[in-house]
Symmetry: C2
DNA sequence: GTTGCATATGAAACAATGCGCATATAAAGT
DNA sequence: ACTTTATATGCGCATTGTTTCATATGCAAC
């Protein structure tokens, strides 16, 4: 149970449909917790059966009807119980590092290219994070509690991306240094 | 298929049993790619069926027999094909951030405690990484290719842990600042 | 006018991951 | 004597994640 909690937390803000949740997961929350729309719909059915959320169908004239879910009292209680449980650090699953372990038998030029792609990716993502930061959190010292979580998520993103950019540069140097 | 590749890469170094692999995954590789011994044994059976590794049973008198796996030619080819495919950045799945999104309705004191635990965890892990770094990689400028991957893995670990430590401190400040 | 995109939900199949349980022996600690 | 630790391999079930397919509509672009 973990995606379920991400959904419940998201519903704290406001009732949402599966479609809303999927879109939101593509944006803010999705930088550190991702899910496809199929996973979300499936999970919503389960949560609904478990009585943690309540569905309400909204008729729409010109578009398909929406099914908007809201937290039940049980859902809120479940969420707060979960928050009180201790959390463990995630493990990274960094494929690129696995590939680098093949150095010595694999082609260093191909790997250098990979690292270059990753550098561009992290630079791009950092730029987007910093843009959001500048627009929505110019003054992080006086945030209402409801926004602290979002700010801290973004902040972790910024710090991690910066480190990864540094790492990519170092990796490029290492790979360039001793080409077979 | 991803754990399979981590196993194949590990077997590049030398033939190993499931037990060996599990231990190794607890150490070096395991910081960014984790797997339980059950996952490893299961994957070894699959790889064996696919003809990518070859098992050899070694009889031992006083202990259970070991089944040592080595890469086949097909396994090496498969590995090199995989290295040439482009890699995507992993997504983080950071439970703690999901919990922080509940701020405003959740108890900030409990979350501050969680962040404190995480700070201690990352400090500890950083210390271990730096110890390995000092012992095995005092001079990273002249590494044989076969060791570059390990060095870069460790290096990413160091950079990420430092960032996470910084983040934890900031998070503590944010949580302390506005207690309800 | 047809292509593509956004809205909106879902089934079904399959692959990968994780968690708990099971088994067997020897050495070393308490 | 008893417990823990290390060696060594494995099954079964549940959860999670990915891919493909299906349906239905409106709007804008080309």
């Amino acid at each position: 149970m973990a995606l379920s909690h991400a959904i419940l937390v998201s519903l704290l803000d406001r009732p949402q449909s599966g479609y809303d949740l999927a879109k939101r997961f593509d944006q803010t929350v999705g930088y550190f917790w991702n899910a496809s729309h199929q996973q979300i719909y499936r999970e919503l059915h389960k949560l609904s059966e478990a009585g943690l959320v309540r569905p309400a169908e909204l008729t729409q004239a010109d578009r398909p009807n929406r099914i908007v879910y809201s937290l039940t009292e049980g859902g809120e209680a479940h969420l707060h119980d979960w928050v009180d449980e201790p959390t463990t650090a995630p493990n990274v699953k960094e494929e690129l590092l696995v590939k680098l372990f093949a150095l010595g038998t694999a082609d260093p030029a191909a790997l250098a290219q990979e690292v270059g792609r990753r550098l561009a990716f992290h630079q791009d993502r950092l730029a987007r994070y910093e843009a959001v930061m500048a627009e929505y959190y110019p003054d992080p010292d006086s945030l209402p509690p409801r926004k602290q979580g979002h700010y801290l998520g973004l902040r972790m993103g910024v710090l991690l991306e910066r480190s990864l950019i540094d790492w990519c540069r170092e990796a490029e140097a290492v790979l360039a240094q001793a080409p077979r």
